[in-house]
Amino acid sequence: MSSVESSSPKSTGFGGGAPKGRRGLGGLDRPATFWFIYLPPLLWLGAFFVLPVLLMAAFSFRPDMRGDLFQPWIPTLDQYASVADTTSYLRLLGISALTALGIALAAVILAYPLAYFLALRAGPRAGFYLILLLVPFWTSFLLRVMAWKIMLGSDGVVNSFLIYIGLIEEPLTALIYNRTAVVLTLIYVWIPFAALPILAALQRIDNSLFEAAADLGARPYHQFMRIALPLSLPGVVASFFMVFIPTIGEYATPLLVGGSRGFLYGNIIQDVFTKAVNWPLGSALSMIMLAATLILVALAVRLVDLRRLFE
């Protein structure tokens, strides 16, 4: 992920990339200032991200939940062996990864025109439209997913409308409580998120590039293909990963609209932690997901060659 995060403008970077001297934010190179600015987030991430992940890794080698949780234990691979024995878990991980891939692609493709419009076509009203785009964030994620329940339920908006216009007599039951409903809901939830990195990338494009292209006779289609699209690719990639990675572990949406057959791998992890109180097994399942996600991201980085993208 670090390569993706570095897509932010270089000007705020520290060390290597920045020109020598004591420019930038009033002398960031001085150690005191450096620690003052970077220590709080580092401590925060260390305490609430790195440490818990390490703890989880350690727990995944615990034989069971018996005894004091912080007494040392003899490491065992039992949990990993039991996951390997349960092919349905690994299969569901595969399905979840594919589902996340589809959702991320769809969300990015649908978000791109939005971002393009906001960055290059909306003009002075862009700020207003951006706020409109962000309106959904004012309500909780769960509320927005619940809204889909109201939309797709058997006495919901879609069914009521179809019955009203006489197209169907009995409510369609296939609209909700399956994996399709999960996919539809998640795409909707992610579109505004996905638009933001793309918007940022498009806004950074120097307008004179378009003017020059137009002067040289490039038509809008070619301007888009030769300027906007390639220069916004870092944003596209960032937004893809921003959707893909959390979606692999998603569990709330399947709980609400997925019914009995819409579960994703995250639901199994959640169940093992909260319904089974089996933290060692849950930790092993989580570590496997973490590893799988890292491998997939590494593969994707190979394919897309991010370094060239961000130069």
Binding site: L69, S82, Y89, G153, R261, D271, V272, K275, A276, N278
Partner: protein, 362 residues
């Protein structure tokens, strides 16, 4: 507004008490402090809803100057996980099935029942539920049934067996509780297995049975409101349910009935335990004694439609809907009810893993 008023009053009382105790020069041993002047604080790890003062009204009235803080647990597993991780709550509220581990892992203190003034009002059969290895570790408090709740307009022929939850006839209209041990329990009732000694082969068969059931099941419900909504809308025709949902739907005029399966209903009991090592043991006992009080018990019955362990409370029920919900007028119902036995740690791991595999199955 009412609660604000009350807390204002409480503040005044607190000041009066502080002034009075300052005047008396202190030094009086805690046991001699009149209930109204006793101060201190207790933390209770309870289920959402039970933190409302209605459910500890006797304690609040008797000990107005004791602060009671609540932490909320979402399920038995959640509450056990929190206590296991070192939660400092003085009192916690597990249900039958989930009691043994607290004793095994040394998380619960024995109850000194001689200090409970309401203990005589609790029937012996309930007292026994809080005993493990011959010691009273828990006091029973709320109880109820699990059975099949169904829409009488959609299933006019009625439901007479737990097997209905797995019957293809009701495909797409069944809702099972999202709970592995409950699924195992239902299967053992249907097949006549010994619930306390389910073999590996039986568990494998149970897993296959519930994987097949998944195609008939609309959704697994996690919270009662979700189930009530599903039954009200008509999406769900029959479900594994507690009688709270039954009473709620009856109250709203939805045509529902609560089955008396031939294999017998299931019954569960909620208990309170005191954390081992708490510094507030005496205060916690006072809290639990007040939990057995009549006003508190009446609120459990009238607001949540669950039973209470104080027999005087149950004898006082006159409301017809409630009588129906508890099947109070049916003399045979309790004899044919299956009480939930306590899980061992192995059963907990195996049965919950079975359920996760049902959900993950292709």
């Amino acid at each position: 507004m009412k609660s604000k008023h009350r807390s204002y009053l409480g503040g005044v009382l607190l000041i009066v008490v502080l002034v009075l105790s300052a005047c008396s020069g202190g030094g009086a041993p805690a046991a001699d402090v009149p209930p109204g002047e006793l101060t201190g604080s207790l933390t209770v790890l309870d289920w959402a809803g039970y933190d409302a003062p209605d459910f500890w009204i006797d304690f609040q009235n008797t000990y107005p100057n004791v602060t009671v803080n609540f932490e909320i647990g979402a399920s038995d597993a959640d509450i056990y996980g929190k206590m296991k991780a070192g939660d400092q709550a003085d009192i916690f509220h597990p249900y039958t099935g989930w009691l043994q581990f607290y004793v095994d892992e040394g998380l619960v203190e024995e109850i000194d029942t001689s200090k409970l003034s309401n203990w005589d009002k609790v029937p012996d059969s309930f007292k026994a539920i809080g005993q493990i290895d011959g010691k009273q570790y828990f006091i029973p408090w709320d109880w109820g049934f699990s059975s099949i709740l169904y829409r009488t307009d959609k299933i006019p022929e009625g439901v007479d067996s737990w097997a209905a939850l797995l019957d293809p006839k009701y495909a797409g209209h069944i809702s099972m509780w999202d709970d592995g041990p409950a699924a195992v329990t239902v299967s053992t009732y249907i097949h006549g297995y010994d619930e306390t000694a389910v073999t590996d082969e039986q568990l494998a068969a149970i897993k296959d049975e519930w994987i097949a059931q998944r195609d008939l099941n609309l959704f697994y419900w996690a919270g009662e409101p979700e189930l009530v909504e599903g039954m009200k809308s008509g999406d769900v025709w029959l479900a594994y349910a507690w009688q709270g949902a039954y009473a709620l739907l009856l109250g709203e005029g939805v045509p529902v009935a609560y089955a008396n399966p031939k294999e017998g209903r299931n019954s569960w009991v909620g208990v309170y335990g005191i954390r081992k090592g708490t510094e507030n043991y005496d205060l916690a006992l006072k809290f639990l004694d007040a939990k057995l009080g009549e006003a508190t018990g009446n609120n459990v019955v009238n607001l949540f439609y669950y039973g209470h362990s104080n027999q005087d409370v149950m004898n006082g029920i006159t409301d017809e809907t409630l009588k129906q919900a508890f099947s109070i007028d049916d003399p045979n119902i309790l004899e044919t009810t299956n009480f939930t036995p306590n899980l061992t740690a192995e059963q907990r791991d195996a049965w919950t893993a079975m359920w996760a595999e049902v959900k993950a199955a292709p």
